[in-house]
Amino acid sequence: MSFFRDALIALSFLITAYFVLWNVSQMAMGPLAAVILSRHRRRHTRRARRLATGVAVPPLVSIVVPAYNEELTIVESLRAMLALDYTPREVVIVNDGSTDGTLALLQRTFDLVPAPLAFVQPLRSEPVRGIYRSTSEPDLVVVDKENGRCKADAANAGINAASGVLVLVIDADTVLAADALSRAVLPFLEDPVTVAVGGSVAIANGCHIEHGRIVDVALPRSWFARFQVVEYMRSFLLFRLACASQNAVVIISGAFGLFRRDAMIAVGGYDRTAIGEDMDLTIRLQRYFRARREPVRIAFDPNPLAWTQAPEDWQSMRSQRYRWRRGLLQTLWRYRRMIGNPRFGTVGLESLPYVAFFEGLGPLVEGSGYLITIGAAVLGYLNWKYCGMMIGVSVFLGAAVTLLSILMNDLTSRQYMQGRDLALLVAVAILESFGYRQVNSLWGCVGTFQALTGKGGWGSMKRQAFRP
């Protein structure tokens, strides 16, 4: 009995130590991220950004947009893409067998007509049913294909049809910043070993959108989406920036990723069996070039280049988190031989071990931590005072990390600068530790169970039209 008691208490202390280590490691990313942010702000001046248009032959960028049942947002998003400040570019919409009126709406709005388009298909995808071109927008191509039951399949079809040297793969509900392309192509123009560029993605809920452009940034009205705002900040402005500083990026968000087309084709494009196809592709690119001892750089732009809708209802969010979790674990398992392997440089020795130890184990340790600590207190093995202290450590360190990411966000883009926004963000930093994090951990545990048992599907997100 005494052994059981000691083991329980030791376990609860170990879990606290894990939490402390996790949060301290995130805090340690702050200085790395700050250096990158400061350098980025000083480098990417207005004059420096003019390079994208001043360069002798600007690279053609194909914007590939997989669309499945996106009739609520597709027209607005597409108008914004066609109004981007970068040329030359083309937009390739891939209608992935939508069952709603996506294709009909596109046909009506953009005067689409069937048109021949010849292309080789180096990447596998479901059969293409038809190709349409717009008589009013010469830069628009619509590929209508059989549903492939995954975004990867549609993205591959789009990459096949794309004629650009660079391919930007985005979600259909992504709202791009007007200068997103001219910013994102810069690393390719500056450094020939750049194979991909990821961009920071912010949450569009609550923002005022006109003609597919964010005209006023505001925090979402729902607390649920507000929690996700700080979650995105933590993810994009701490971990990914720290990875970028070490040339060890392991994930480029599916909402915005610009890739060299030849590199994508060399690694076989998106894997149709991958659940987290964006992370899978990023790691595959790193593995491909590093295994061949070829120089490679995957860059990351900390400015919000794209805005995406966050789920505001429990069901959508739950299925999204289950999917993310399954995707993460599947990817870590697939590339387990890279973890700790010096052959893959900073990816093998830094970012992947970090992801595996903290992101991979995190929800399980967090979930069991709450159970064990509270259980030990209930059984009388642990003083309630110490139990409260452990939870306090996790709450305050978590809040500190969130506040650090808010600071980073201020340094990057100066969004949410109203006094009310600050008060709300601080409140979110504190409140997310009381319920939201625990629910997330629970979903993480269920996602892990699904990954281990091979259950679970893609899920669906309740789409909303952009608020004018």
């Binding site: 000691d6 208490i9 030791a10 202390f13 606290t16 402390v20 805090m27 350098r39 000083r42 480098r43 001046t45 207005r46 004059r47 420096a48 003019r50 390079l51 001043g54 360069v55 002798a56 032959v57 048109a115 021949p116 388009l117 010849a118 080789v120 071109r133 008589t135 010469p138 810069l186 390719f188 123009l189 500056e190 450094d191 020939p192 003083n383 110490y386 202290m389 452990m390 306090g392 450590v393 709450v395 305050f396 360190l397 809040a399 500190a400 506040l403 650090l404 808010i406 600071l407 201020d410 340094l411 100066r414 600068m417 600050l422 601080v426």
Partner: protein
């Protein structure tokens, strides 16, 4: 075990206080940063409202506005310099640049720039270089050229931007010499050549003769700024033993434009063993409507490897009647080349 746990329990309150302290420090940092930004923004807004109209009037020749600017405190000079120079990023009107330069001279902005050029901080050196380039301060060309060897890559990039904006022929030789310098941004090397245009051509042709190892870079450069003068040399290089050089020479010919002889060479290039060379030879013929049977020689290449077929199809589309006839002859085929021909015909019809 019990002792270890006791020790851990002793540390727990310390941990809590450390966590609370960290959270409060972070909260304070956010508040301080926001306050500082808010104050700086308010001050900048006030000064901008005061100085922007004065600068505009001074640039239009208003002596009173100029005197008011000259009487402004020295600590405002940086902001004044920014307000003067920033519009020049988009507005490259030579008249405005000259007036801005004269005003900057009067306001001792160049002394400030000189101080920044000697700064230990790279971003100050970069800022000064870009500003000097935007106002075309040709008495600073030597510093800009010297900055191409700065230890910091962003300062080297700023020096290239400055030389691009400054457009001083005196810097041309130094730029061409650094064409292969991979420590300079690739895109910026191209941008500066584009800015100088055909002024670079004589240097490039000279260097390419004496430096055959780097011929590929010179051809790339000629593709950006070459003229008819480069054509015979490029035709000669289409017979270079190196595949890269041959292919790029054809690509450059496409930019430079063809004459009868160059078109003949390009048609010959269609029979080259290397697909890359054939693809670029097809590309070089784009828009050619002169004598010869180029369209008829191109058409069979619709069945070639994909890169060659695409270039051949696009070139046929651009060749007018002769090209369209060849495309129509293949449009009824059900294979990929037939589809390619139909696509080109459709596009030609849609764009007409």
């Amino acid at each position: 075990m019990t002792r270890l746990l006791a020790e851990f329990a002793r540390l727990a309150p310390l941990l809590v206080w450390a966590a609370v302290g960290t959270a409060l420090t972070m909260a304070a940092a956010v508040v301080v940063e926001r306050t500082a930004v808010g104050l700086r923004r308010a001050l900048n807004r006030r000064l901008t409202q005061r100085y922007r109209p004065l600068i505009q009037r001074a640039l239009e020749g208003d002596q009173a506005a100029r005197d008011a600017l000259l009487g402004s405190p020295a600590r405002h000079r940086l902001l004044l310099a920014w307000l003067m120079v920033e519009p020049l990023i988009e507005d490259r009107d030579p008249e405005r640049i000259a007036r801005t330069r004269a005003l900057a001279q009067a306001l001792s902005v160049f002394q400030l720039a000189d101080r920044y050029l000697r700064s230990w901080f790279w971003w100050r050196r970069a800022l000064a270089l870009r500003a000097l380039g935007l106002v075309q301060a040709r008495d600073h060309t030597a510093q800009m050229v010297a900055a191409l060897d700065d230890p910091h890559p962003d300062v080297r990039a700023a020096a290239l931007d400055a030389l691009t904006d400054e457009h001083d022929p005196a810097a041309l030789q130094a730029i061409v010499v650094r064409l292969h310098d991979t420590s300079l941004h690739r895109g910026r090397r191209g941008a500066v050549l584009k800015a100088f245009g055909s002024d670079c051509e004589p240097f490039l042709l000279d260097w390419s003769e004496v430096d055959p190892d780097n011929r590929l870079d010179y051809i790339h450069a000629l593709a950006i700024c070459g003229t008819a003068r480069s054509r015979p040399v490029l035709c000669r290089w289409t017979r270079d033993p190196r595949v890269d050089v041959r292919a790029t020479a054809f690509e450059a010919l496409a930019y430079v434009g063809l004459d009868d002889e160059a078109a003949r060479v390009a048609v010959e290039g269609l029979e080259n063993d290397e697909p890359r060379v054939r693809a670029m030879a097809a590309y070089a013929l784009r828009g050619w409507q002169g004598p010869g049977d180029a369209a008829a020689r191109l058409a069979p290449h619709l069945d070639d490897t994909w890169a060659v077929a695409v270039n051949a199809a696009r070139t046929l589309q651009s060749m007018g009647h002769a090209g369209l006839v060849e495309l129509q002859a293949r449009a009824s085929r059900q294979d990929l080349s037939g589809l390619l021909a139909r696509q080109m015909l459709w596009q030609a019809g849609a764009h007409r």
